[in-house]
């Protein structure tokens, strides 16, 4: 019986800077075109601009939210 993953890492691109240090990220995954994401702790002081490539951690089955774990 397979184990369900709690999070998945997917690649994306910064599309828009939102208030409250949030970003709109366009994902390479087909099922969810974009998520609203915040910077994870380790990536905290990074400044991102539209067009930057990032890796976002998302919950597999719900929500349009994610956390940006690193740049790529």
């Amino acid at each position: 019986m397979p184990e369900a993953r709690e999070t998945l890492e997917v690649e994306g691109t910064v599309r828009e800077l939102l208030p409250n240090a949030l970003y709109r990220i366009e994902l390479s995954s087909e099922s969810r075109p974009s998520v609203t994401a915040h910077l994870a702790g380790g990536a905290g002081s990074t400044r991102l601009r539209p067009g930057d490539g990032v890796v976002v951690e998302i919950a597999p089955f719900d929500g349009g939210r994610g956390r940006i774990v690193r740049q790529r």
Binding site: M1, P2, E3, A4, R5, L8, E30, S31, F61
Partner: protein
Amino acid sequence: MSIQKSWAELQTMARAARLVIETLDLLEEAAVPGATTADLYTIARENIERAGARPAFLGYRGFPATLCASVNEEVVHGIPGTRKLREGDIIGLDLGCILDGFFGDSARTVAVGPVSGEAQQLLDTTRDALLAGIDMCRPDKRVGDIGHAVQAHAESRGYSVVREFVGHGIGTSLHEEPQVPNYGPPGRRDRLVPGMCLAIEPMVNLGTPEVEVLEDGWTAVTKDRRLSAHFEFAVAVTPHGPWILSEPYPYAEFEAEAANA
């Protein structure tokens, strides 16, 4: 870091693994047009209890059966019920037991009567992808090498692998460390060491890799509702290579050495 098993513990793991395989053989025979998935569940449960073992999935995080029966576009975690099998279906049978404290866990996808060439090819490829992953279970390899081999095999045939569910360590719990994804770069994740037991289980889709979970909270289906197949063996890493625990110890010439280690 996973838990390494002693030679004696591996013997118990092997008995649990064999009971699951024997039960799957019965289920494969019973998976004929007109049978319901609940019929298969009854056979599975009776056979496991007759052998003095306990069902492993029943009640696991609230799962209501000891068999996952996943038909056609269902990827995994299908709940047995009144659905009648029809000729041309494929059904994923995923079964677990607890025998003398150790877990057996194995799965295969079988054809109900004659199936399309497309379906048969998917079954063959998924099984071969599993074997490619198992071949990586050697002490000089890493967990990431397993997923990489599975993914490379499946994608070279034009299929896709599911990301949302992963294989796992197995032993005195159904799911132990580490997680074993069926994709990703080689050379990453935990180093494999002798005595590790892993349940490797590729889920391979005909179309998109994406899946969603139905309202019952369990049944995972492909997003595009095309076919999906799932095969699983529990494997021990030995100093000489992989041991599919349901099969005889494959390195007989080293058996005395292993027993004394």
